[in-house]
Symmetry: C2
């Protein structure tokens, strides 16, 4: 296990600068009143490829050695890492193969293909995904860029909170959604070094709460195929992300499906931004845990904006 | 007819500064490639009350004389001016009555009431609206703030492009949607004085093209009850807005309902922002008139973001 360092994050920041946006921080006086906190939304939905994962993917792709360029990169992903890696590979002009669940939103499949990536479909379970992916890599010889359990990826994701603490002074806490833990690990890497007084919270769907249960048990618990509207958060922690989560996270909070959908619609309505269900989990948990955040200055990572506009969750019933 | 001057706009800018946002300008490399132009989206969907009209309404409310404060303000509006005036009146702590079509989106009615405004409903035609409004003003003695044919309102709307030309250098053109012409008139007021080389375009739904027909005829043509998805753009030009439009606008371009809906969905999908159908009309017309804008630096006013999230136009069919 290679644990990325502050140097790795800072090198990543220089490396990926030409390929990613410094995303804006938005505020909402309405949501501040509603929560009793001061919320600073770091809008990675405006990031390249529509998601923070463009950071980690770009760092992995642009740190590849010359001799690997022809074989390219490959990965498995519920969607956002897939299109981020396709984006980054496209910018470097190398091939990219992604194994995606056949149930992934069509918008994400279209985006992967739009960036020039090649899709191989699997069943919507971790076991199927990993089996089919092994075949792909054996055949192509491509460099595996794991969606989150990769030091290059975590170092890249860490650049998000490096920007955030430059953009917003004196934060008391940062909260991000947690699936495999890539964004949270990057946040831990950066803040534990550069702003160790800032508390780090993770937010997770009740219906995919393996990270919260792992956190309380003290070891990784993995579910095979959880069902949640927050489709980016179904994957389990791995050793590298567990290292950061277990050492640096203050707490992992959860929210129900309806609370996530309500928070998502509330953000769309009041902040006028398009973001994914996954990105609404932090606000949903803040609304449930007002005492924890009252009077605090809280960075809230809006992780991505790749949602199928024909299948909005509040219109399903 | 009192024609607002550059001084009026500049005084408005100082007056309303505490009550409105300097909204951000967003860009999209995807939409630049698609159109062949360089587009700078001035995001008034992020404005207070979710719409540029907070500017004009705030200028009118905060320039009211002391002796009018108790009677307050009143207006008729298809929605956005209603909630903007309610917002501004709320900030000054004075009463606000608005006459709204009973068919106005529920999201807009809720927002008016949320800001403390009182709603009186009328039929969805200009004639009904004006008749019922006359009764309201006769009873209350409130100060009428017209949604657009008011020099205080036009001076307020002009602050939007005053910001835009500070934020973006060397624009070749600015394009805004046109209904009654308040935003376009404010744009004309500001740019004809401060940036006279910038061409001003207006964009209108084909199904509510009274401004385009007026422009070609050389006099105001008004339709009573046009039907379009761009519900903010159904109202006709009036003498004051006609003055600015007829003197300073280069052309008025139109788009079909489907073109407007497609452009709206495209902006949501690629730019990750929530905006109204009205705000999509400029991009729809740019996509139809690529030769006009190719290679040009174009400011595009995203006028507002108050859309009913349960009634998205691409989900109606």
């Amino acid at each position: 296990m290679i644990i990325p360092t502050l140097d790795d994050m800072q090198n990543a920041h220089k490396r990926i600068k030409p390929y990613v946006h410094e995303t804006p921080v938005l505020t909402s006086s309405y949501l501040d009143e509603l929560t009793g906190a001061r919320l600073f939304f770091k809008c990675e939905n405006f990031q390249k490829a529509g998601v923070f994962k463009a950071r980690g993917a770009s760092n992995a792709v642009f740190s590849l050695s010359e001799d690997m360029l022809e074989k390219g990169v490959a990965t498995h992903s519920s969607g956002n890492h897939a299109l981020s890696l396709s984006y980054a590979a496209g910018r470097r002009g190398i091939p990219c193969t992604v194994v995606m669940p056949r149930t992934a939103p069509q918008a994400k499949k279209d985006a992967v293909m739009g960036y020039g990536g090649t899709i191989v479909e699997c069943e919507p379970s971790t076991s199927s995904r990993e089996a089919i992916f092994a075949e792909v890599v054996a055949k192509s010889g491509a460099e595996f860029v794991h969606p989150y359990n990769d030091p290059r990826v975590i170092a890249g994701q860490g650049t998000c909170s490096a920007e955030l603490i430059e953009q917003v002074e004196s934060l008391d806490a940062v909260i991000a959604p947690i699936g495999g833990g890539g964004m949270v690990s990057g946040t831990c890497l950066t803040l534990s070094n550069l702003a160790p007084n800032v508390k780090i919270y993770a937010a997770e769907p009740e219906q995919a709460d393996d990270a919260a249960r792992s956190f309380r048990a003290g070891h990784i618990i993995a579910d095979d195929a959880p069902v949640t509207v927050a489709d980016g958060l179904k994957v389990p922690l791995k050793d590298l992300t567990w290292h950061f989560v277990s050492n640096h996270v203050t707490d992992i909070l959860t929210a129900s499906e309806q609370e996530i959908i309500d928070a998502m619609k509330l953000i769309w309505k009041r902040m006028k931004i398009v973001m994914e269900p996954s990105s609404a989990v932090p606000l949903a948990t803040i609304l449930k845990n007002k005492d924890t955040f009252a009077g605090k200055r809280v960075g809230v990572i809006i992780t991505g904006g790749n949602v199928d506009l024909d299948l909005l969750p509040w219109l399903k019933n």
